[in-house]
């Protein structure tokens, strides 16, 4: 089986030719998987690699013919290589590189007696997105679980532990620092991160002052919970404002409808008030022939245009009838 470090690309700030080649090879491999219909598309494969569940990732690695367990090691190897090359590169690049590494990381590196390679490793993580850092933490957790399960492996991997600590620091800074990020997506991210923290806590249990990672994880849990409550309040406030805006818009719409009605009423009211000058409204409607729409003379029994009978012939009143029809004259 080919080692994953030989082909798997990693996120480095200055990819060189070898890495590019590795990326190409890896992409080709993924392409083969697409052709074999093991994944629907390249984008889907990348999504599994970056965001997929560990099971799906493991399956993908198996399909690629790679050893999933060695993923972290491979990443470390690649980053080491990249950082070595960066260290050997021009002074200008070196200066730029140094600038990228913040003071906190440098101090930590000095405390732990780290080399520049490891410092580069940390910088590599820092340049990754929060999602990527979280994905990496997840993989580190899994790696640690495996180590705990497999007796032939050393229980602790100093590089992995350092990466974990750095990842926690970076995420803590990003989560607690105010940002322009949409509160909803940040809240979602926090929920995901909280789940991840639970898993990580299991991997680094029990909590002890001797274990910096487990301590950090506990601190982190508190920070996350605090941030969650803050965001919840912010979201509630936003929702209230949105509701208010919605109500305002509804009121405005209603007002414009009433305005229109008033406009129409204003247009027809003068005519309405002048109705006494003509026929009454109901009389006007009854003076329309329902068959041809012609205006009919109410005194006529039928429509002059189409001949439709408009009303039954009017019977003369008692007083109007000739005496002979009333009952033969006075009936006394």
């Amino acid at each position: 089986m080919k080692g994953i470090g030989e082909i798997l690309p990693v996120n480095v700030s200055n990819p060189n030719g070898e890495i590019k080649e590795a990326v190409n090879t890896f992409t080709e491999k993924l392409g083969e998987l697409v052709s074999a219909k093991k994944v629907t598309s390249l984008a889907e494969a990348v999504r599994i690699l970056t965001e997929g569940s560990p099971e799906n990732q493991a399956k993908l690695f198996k399909d690629l013919g790679l050893d999933y367990g060695s993923l972290i090691k491979a990443q470390v190897e690649m980053l080491k290589q990249a950082s070595e090359q960066m260290a050997e590169s021009s002074k200008e690049k070196q200066a730029l590189f140094e600038k990228l590494v913040d003071e906190k990381m440098q101090n930590r590196a000095a405390e732990l007696g780290l080399t520049k390679e490891l410092l580069a490793l940390i910088t590599g993580i820092q340049s990754q997105s929060t999602q990527q850092v979280m994905a990496m933490m997840e993989k580190l957790n899994e790696e640690r679980f495996k180590r705990l399960e497999e007796s032939n492996k050393p229980k602790e991997d100093p590089i992995a532990n350092l990466l974990m600590q750095t990842a926690i620091d970076i995420l803590k800074e990003r989560i607690t620092k105010p940002s322009d990020q949409d509160p909803r997506s940040k809240f979602q991210e926090l929920l995901e991160f909280q789940k991840l923290l639970q898993e990580a806590s299991k991997a680094f249990a029990p909590v002890s002052t001797n274990n910096p990672i487990s301590m950090k994880l506990e601190e982190m849990k508190i920070d996350v919970e605090r941030e969650k409550i803050r965001l919840q309040h912010e979201l509630e406030r936003e929702e209230r404002q949105e509701r208010l805006k919605l109500e305002e818009r509804r009121t405005e719409r209603l007002a414009s409808v009433f305005e229109k009605i008033a406009e129409i009423a204003g247009a027809v009211l003068p005519q309405f008030l002048n109705r006494s000058q003509g026929l009454s409204h109901s009389a006007a409607l009854s003076a329309i022939c329902p068959n041809c729409g012609e205006n009919v003379d109410p005194s006529k029994p039928q429509c002059l245009r189409c001949g439709l009978p408009l009303r039954p012939p009017i019977q003369p009143t008692l007083e109007q009838r000739p005496v002979s029809q009333v009952g033969g004259g006075l009936d006394i």
Partner: protein, 123 residues
């Protein structure tokens, strides 16, 4: 007053209706006008039931306008304006408005009357 919202809207709908009839029954208006045929009933039977498909709000406005207001005086003014406007147009409707304005005016008046009846009694 003739430019009021009500008249403007009524004119808009009348033109839309006429254009639709022109499209759907190409040549029918011109032919009927030439032969002085009465197609008012045919038009109303075909299109007035469409008014019942309007939304409740518009129906309410129409019914309220027809039921409470004296709108007959608008009719003749509106029809005169419409015929003048149509006369400036190309096509069948324009030709009918130019060559047979009385026929068109008579049809419009009766269709308008039937529409009032329909709105007042059927909607």
């Amino acid at each position: 007053m003739i430019d009021s919202v009500f008249v403007k809207k009524a004119k808009e709908y009348a033109i839309l209706g006429l254009e639709y009839f022109e499209r759907e029954n190409s040549g029918r208006i011109l032919e009927s006008a030439k032969q002085n045929l009465d197609i008012a009933k045919e038009i109303t039977d075909k299109y007035l039931p469409e008014l019942s498909k309007l939304d409740l709000f518009t129906k309410g406005i129409l019914k309220s306008a027809v039921g409470q207001a004296w709108i007959h005086p608008f009719r003749d003014q509106m029809i005169d304006t419409l015929v003048t406007e149509l006369a400036g147009r190309e096509g069948e409707l324009g030709q009918v408005a130019r060559e047979y304005p009385e026929w068109l005016r008579d049809h419009m008046r009766r269709v308008f009357n039937l529409a009032l009846l329909y709105i007042a009694r059927e909607m």
